[in-house]
């Protein structure tokens, strides 16, 4: 299966990014092939709605799961609509998160914070 992880650097040792919508990259990891691809997060510099654009990027990568420390409501709605399972990442490297996920140690993200409207106007 394919999983996505928001990261700050293009390495498996990079820490998981705490802000999904404004992470630098998404690590797309194929658990069967053990292959990793890093996708630029084009939403990063969006003035508004970064979470949505980021979610769209993740959805378009056709992943099965997302590992993230937290997530906005809008992004969560989109990912859920796309049938992507969202797991609570641990505060550690991407690799450690992949291992923890493989061992079934990550739980589903139960708390989604309210929309993070980085809108204009005020």
């Amino acid at each position: 299966m394919k999983i996505a992880i928001p990261v700050e650097n293009k390495t498996l040792e990079a820490n998981v990014s705490t802000v999904f919508g404004r992470a630098n990259y998404f690590l797309i990891y194929d658990t069967e092939r053990e292959e990793s691809v890093f996708v630029d997060n084009l939403a990063q510099s969006s003035a508004g709605g970064a979470g949505i654009k980021a979610a769209q990027t993740v959805v378009d990568q056709k992943v099965n799961a997302l590992l993230t420390p937290r997530l906005g409501e809008n992004a969560a709605d989109i990912l859920e609509a796309a049938g992507i399972k969202i797991y609570q990442a641990i505060n550690a490297s991407a690799r450690k998160n992949i291992d923890a996920f493989g061992d079934g140690k990550l739980s589903l993200l139960d708390e989604v914070h309210a929309g993070f409207h980085e809108h204009g106007d005020n």
């Binding site: 969006s46 508004g48 949505i52 959805v59 809008n74 709605d77 809108h119 204009g120 005020n122």
Partner: protein
């Protein structure tokens, strides 16, 4: 005569000045444009309140016509659209109602529907007509509410409208001062106060509005706000001394001029000063 009351930051005494000025006039309209945290109505406790909804237009998708070309998604600068499982989704709170998605859609799959973002209450607190804008919690932009609050105001020379602006100097503040004949800047006598005063000072200069400063909570000690005004040749309209009684009335959301003659006299004097300034400006303008 439309007077906007503003301050670089909340807490300087903007609502105190606006509410009391509106209350000393024979007849006036008080408009609370501080739509994120409107407080003026707490003072006026208006009666016979009418309520109108403020709505913006957002796109509605006709899924039968949408073929998933994603041109609208690429166009939208606010990331208010997404395409998930072969369906276009609208994220309403992010939409700025620009209508662009509708324009770019080659399939005519988008229509526009209204979506409420807040409300306006209009009531009476004799002799003041009180209009208050409320932005719903979680909404990001109140500019459409401010526009609607200020639309269609009567503008006769002897009618008085006091506009209580939002704090700061962002776009919602600009919206609230665009129509004003005169601006009152309320400042605190601290170095924070001066910094914040400078922000709105820049704003009124940019809009070329006549203005003056009211310094609130003045102490006997050194007054950086006063110094700033002198250095920049800014007219000081009034100095309101720090006064525990006034502070207490205000914190209980009482209108000071309705409670004590002394305050009524002071705010009447301020209103007269401002009215003179406005007439002076109008005369100066007609001579130009």
């Amino acid at each position: 005569m439309k007077i906007a009351v503003l301050s670089g930051k909340g807490g300087a005494g903007k609502t105190l000045v606006a509410v009391n000025l509106a209350s000393v006039a024979k007849k006036s309209t008080y408009i609370d444009c501080d739509i994120e945290e409107p407080n003026g109505h707490l003072f006026f406790k208006p009666q016979a309140v009418r309520e109108e909804e403020v709505a913006v237009l957002i796109p509605q998708v006709n899924h039968d016509l949408c073929d998933g070309c994603r041109r609208c998604i690429d166009f939208c600068r606010y990331n208010a659209l997404a395409y998930i499982k072969e369906r276009l989704i609208v994220l309403a709170e992010l939409c700025h109602s620009c209508g662009g998605c509708n324009l770019v859609c080659p399939q005519n799959a988008l229509a526009e529907i209204e979506r409420p973002i807040g409300k306006i209450q209009t009531g009476i607190s004799d002799p003041v007509t009180v209009k208050t804008g409320f932005l719903n919690i979680g909404e990001a932009s109140g500019v459409p509410i401010i526009k609607q609050l200020l639309a269609g105001l009567e503008t006769t020379a002897d009618s008085l409208t006091i506009i209580d602006s939002p704090p700061g100097s962002a776009c919602n503040v600009m919206e609230s001062v665009k129509e004003a004949d005169y601006c009152i800047l309320v400042a605190e006598p601290t170095i924070f106060g001066v910094h914040n005063l400078n922000l709105v000072y820049e704003l009124v200069k940019l809009f070329n509005k006549p203005f003056g400063v009211v310094i609130n909570k003045c102490l006997e000690t050194e007054n950086p706000a006063e110094k700033f005004c002198v250095e920049n040749n800014i007219n000081i309209l009034a100095r309101i001394p720090f006064d525990r009684e006034l502070g207490l009335l205000n914190s209980n959301a009482e209108i000071a001029v309705r409670k004590k003659e002394e305050y009524r006299e002071k705010f009447s004097a301020l209103l007269n000063t401002v009215a003179k300034e406005v007439r002076h400006e109008a005369a100066a303008y007609s001579q130009r």
